[in-house]
């Protein structure tokens, strides 16, 4: 791997005079581009500088400066640090920014999200519909001047709680409706909605009927979900079928949307930690890590040495149980009803026992703190972990391998199905196992290391066919690598303190921005944060792998059978908690 030239030495301002300037706000980095030159700049950054991988795109509402900013975090798939650039427009509707979808197709859903939640119109986006809210929703709920129905105050802690905190139920205080502001001239009584589904159905590839061999055949539209056992939660896909073959597909999501990011901006820095547990609720340990990492970057604080090891141990255990469940559930999707899934659950239970003993909860771990972790691993748990990583788990992963890998039915259902080439995977901003199964050896633990991963000996798992079978195999490979890391970590974990900071419920965070990214079991989990030096974040954005990885869902499904769609979705490994946020 060649070390890329550090972004600071590039003088992009000189390359684009008048259109690009360095972001000199204290605590900020990267470049500010005018919307007019955005596409030219993006093209240059991708083609000349090699930042081929757009991982994060999000809007930031700088209400006091009357400025709506869009932030782009791009990286090179060959590794190394990333480049951040921003563009902005005045905060008066319509807010128009060119879409970068032609340069990075992975911007698709992320731009739709920014449109939905912030009202940024991306000119040139072919299908700019709402994505998390429903079509017909009024307003853009992430804007700083938007208030939820049970609005209390802008930021926590709320004054109503102490010292004169006589309890009242929220609905008694703010009867639903009181907090809703209607546009001038809008009368809810007279309002008739346009069919919110109309735009969705229009976005599908044209329905057609044709006559072949004298027989009239129709395409049919099938709604898979939102209540469907194979969608792993409340997720829906609208599919146009020609016989059993998928012609067009649009995912519909947001049924579990709770405006997580808005809650995050009302919370104090620390209060967000348990909320991150609820993103990918299978992997609260890695969610905690991603958030802690971004805040630690902003604060510029070190992490206690022992805590670094504990973090690695917890994250890798989490990865193993995630992959086990993924494989078990994938087999469910293929029709092997619950035997592999329940085998997987057994090992997962043993791992969750450890999580519960150290953190107090099996799934909502809330275990990380800025600068360390909340409490030490006790002797008993450490012994249990050793038993697992030296004895039980290698045995069991091998058993899974024997159970499934060569099974002829599995092989024929998976081999060659829904392939994605390396170029496509990069273009669609795929992350994690999905990217590596397509032959791109990109793993943040190696490409842009965090924590102490540089001290461990392990290989980045990679497979080259990009089909469903490789998506299965890559998970098995990754479990083996995780075991390797764990064996080294439990052997070399040093004694010492588990936090570099004194425990405190308040956090001083200097002004600035940061993007913290970890290699979650499902792919890149990133947190983009903006601090104004106050006790609460100004911007709290989560880039979740479940969400971005679905960008390529339609691409993968077209031409496959409807029964395969279920398995393809399963192999993406989505979890609705982080998909819908």
């Amino acid at each position: 791997m060649t070390t890329p030239a550090p972004a600071e030495t590039l003088d992009l301002a000189a390359r684009f005079p008048g259109a690009v300037s360095a972001d000199t706000r204290p605590g900020y980095t990267g470049w500010i581009v005018t919307p007019e030159k955005l596409l030219e700049f993006a093209q240059f950054v991708r083609d000349e500088l090699g930042y081929d991988y757009l991982v994060n795109l999000c809007a930031v509402d700088y209400l006091p400066e009357n400025r709506m900013e869009v932030v782009y975090n791009v990286f090179k798939t060959t590794g190394g640090p990333g480049l951040t650039f921003k563009t902005w427009a005045p905060r008066t509707d319509p807010i128009e920014i060119p879409s970068v979808i032609s340069i990075w197709p992975g911007a698709d859903f992320q731009e739709r999200e920014a449109w939905d939640l912030y009202g940024v119109k991306f000119i040139g986006h072919p299908d700019l519909r709402r994505i998390l809210m429903w079509e017909g929703f009024e307003g853009h709920p992430m804007r700083k001047d938007w208030q939820e129905a049970f609005y209390d105050e802008d930021v926590k802690p709320f004054k109503r709680r102490w010292p004169d905190g006589k309890h009242v139920y929220a609905e008694k205080r703010a009867v639903y409706g009181d907090n809703i502001n209607f546009k001038p001239g809008f009368d809810p009584e007279k309002w008739t909605p346009t069919d919110p589904e109309e735009a969705l159905y229009k976005s599908l590839k044209k329905y057609k009927s044709e006559t072949t061999d004298g027989i009239e055949t129709d395409h049919i539209i099938v709604n898979m979900g939102p209540q469907h056992p194979s969608t792993h939660g409340v997720f829906r896909a609208v599919v146009v079928l020609d016989g059993e073959t998928v012609v067009s597909l649009k995912p519909v999501m947001g049924y579990l949307h709770r405006n997580h990011e808005k809650i995050g901006e009302r919370n104090t820095w620390l209060q967000n930690m348990p909320y991150t547990d609820r993103l990918d609720y299978f992997n609260s340990m890695t969610n905690n890590w991603g958030y802690a990492l971004a805040v630690e970057k902003l604060m510029g604080i070190p992490v206690a040495e022992r805590a670094e090891y504990i973090r690695v141990i917890m994250a890798e255990l989490s990865r193993i149980q995630n992959h086990l469940i993924l494989i078990g559930m994938l087999l469910n999707d293929l029709g092997a009803y619950f035997t592999p899934a329940l085998y997987a659950f057994e090992e997962r239970e043993l791992i969750l026992d450890v999580f519960e003993a150290v953190s107090g909860s099996r799934m909502m771990c809330n275990y990380f703190r800025f600068g360390g972790v909340v409490r030490d691993i006790d002797e008993d748990s450490l012994r249990k972990i050793k038993d697992l990583v030296f004895d039980r788990l290698p045995r069991k992963i091998e058993e899974f391998d024997r159970l499934l890998t060569e099974n002829e039915i599995i092989v024929s259902r998976l081999k060659g199905v829904a392939p994605l080439t390396a170029e496509e995977a990069i273009a669609y901003s795929m992350a994690g196992p999905m990217l590596r199964a397509s032959g791109v050896p990109y793993d943040i633990r190696r490409a842009d290391p965090y924590g102490i991963y540089d001290r461990f000996d392990f290989d980045v798992a990679v497979r080259y066919n990009g089909d469903m079978y490789d998506r299965y195999l890559i998970r098995v490979d990754e479990m083996h690598q995780s075991i390797r890391i764990l064996q080294q970590a439990v052997k070399s974990i040093p004694e010492g303190p588990i936090a570099s900071q004194k425990p405190s419920y308040t956090t001083k965070v200097p002004p600035g921005e940061s993007y913290g990214r970890v290699e979650g079991p499902k792919g890149e989990l990133g947190f983009y944060l903006v601090s104004t030096g106050k006790p609460n974040p100004w911007r709290y954005h989560v880039r979740t792998p479940s969400f971005v990885n679905l960008t390529a869902l339609e691409k993968m499904c077209i031409g496959t059978k409807i029964a395969d769609f279920v398995a393809i979705l399963g192999a993406v490994d989505i979890v609705l908690g982080e998909l819908d946020r």
Binding site: H167, G360, M364, L403, E408, I409, Y505
Partner: protein, 199 residues
């Protein structure tokens, strides 16, 4: 490669597990279920066969650090009085992420000045996310996380101070290590204080 070999290999795995279940049952001869050792065995690295805990007849023991809903502590006085530890400082209410703790600070009826006793304390347990921050940051060890997870009810769970209060002896029984550690720290602090006032 012979077609079907992979399937047979897989079937071998399931068959082995099937047999193991009965072997393990035999080995434990009736003790595998409904006994603490049996439950411990079924959640150990050597577990084979049926994992399932037969809830509610059997219950998985919870570790000391397990957290569910918070409760308030009182020290038992010599005459059975309840000395509430909480000083109504408000730290837990400020730290609480979903803001489900409501406290009315106590005031002296004569002077109107704050006194270190809550005049009202509620936790809206339906909103509580069991994060444990209140217990983590309370400077007086006055609020701790309970182990009781069987709290389902037909009505909403707004807990007032009477629902919340439990004796310190209960706390010591569910979290013995934490309790011992805190007592030690308290004694050390008091000793240091006494030494200082003597000097």
């Amino acid at each position: 490669m012979m077609t079907g070999k992979g399937i047979l290999k897989g079937l071998g795995v399931t068959l082995k597990r099937f047999i193991d279940t009965y072997l393990d049952d035999l080995r434990w001869w009736g003790k595998r279920y409904y006994t603490p050792e049996g439950i411990a065995h079924r959640s150990s690295k050597d577990a084979k066969g049926v994992f399932t805990i037969q809830y509610p007849e059997e219950k998985l023991p919870v570790p000391e650090e397990f957290r569910y809903k918070p409760f308030l502590l009182y020290d038992e006085g010599p005459n059975g009085e309840q000395n509430i530890r909480c000083t109504s400082c408000g730290i837990c209410a400020k730290a609480c992420p979903p803001q489900c703790i409501w406290i009315v600070r106590g005031t002296d009826p004569q002077t109107g000045r704050p006194v270190p006793q809550p005049a009202g304390f509620w936790i809206d347990a339906d909103i509580c996310m069991s994060c444990g921050f209140c217990a983590e940051y309370c400077p007086f060890d006055a609020i701790k996380m309970d182990h009781n997870y069987e709290v389902a009810s037909y009505t909403r769970n707004l807990m007032d101070i009477n629902d919340l209060l439990k004796p310190v002896s209960y706390y010591a029984s569910i979290r013995p290590l934490n309790y011992a550690r805190e007592e030690e720290a308290r004694k050390a602090k008091e000793a240091a204080k006494a030494a200082k006032s003597q000097a």
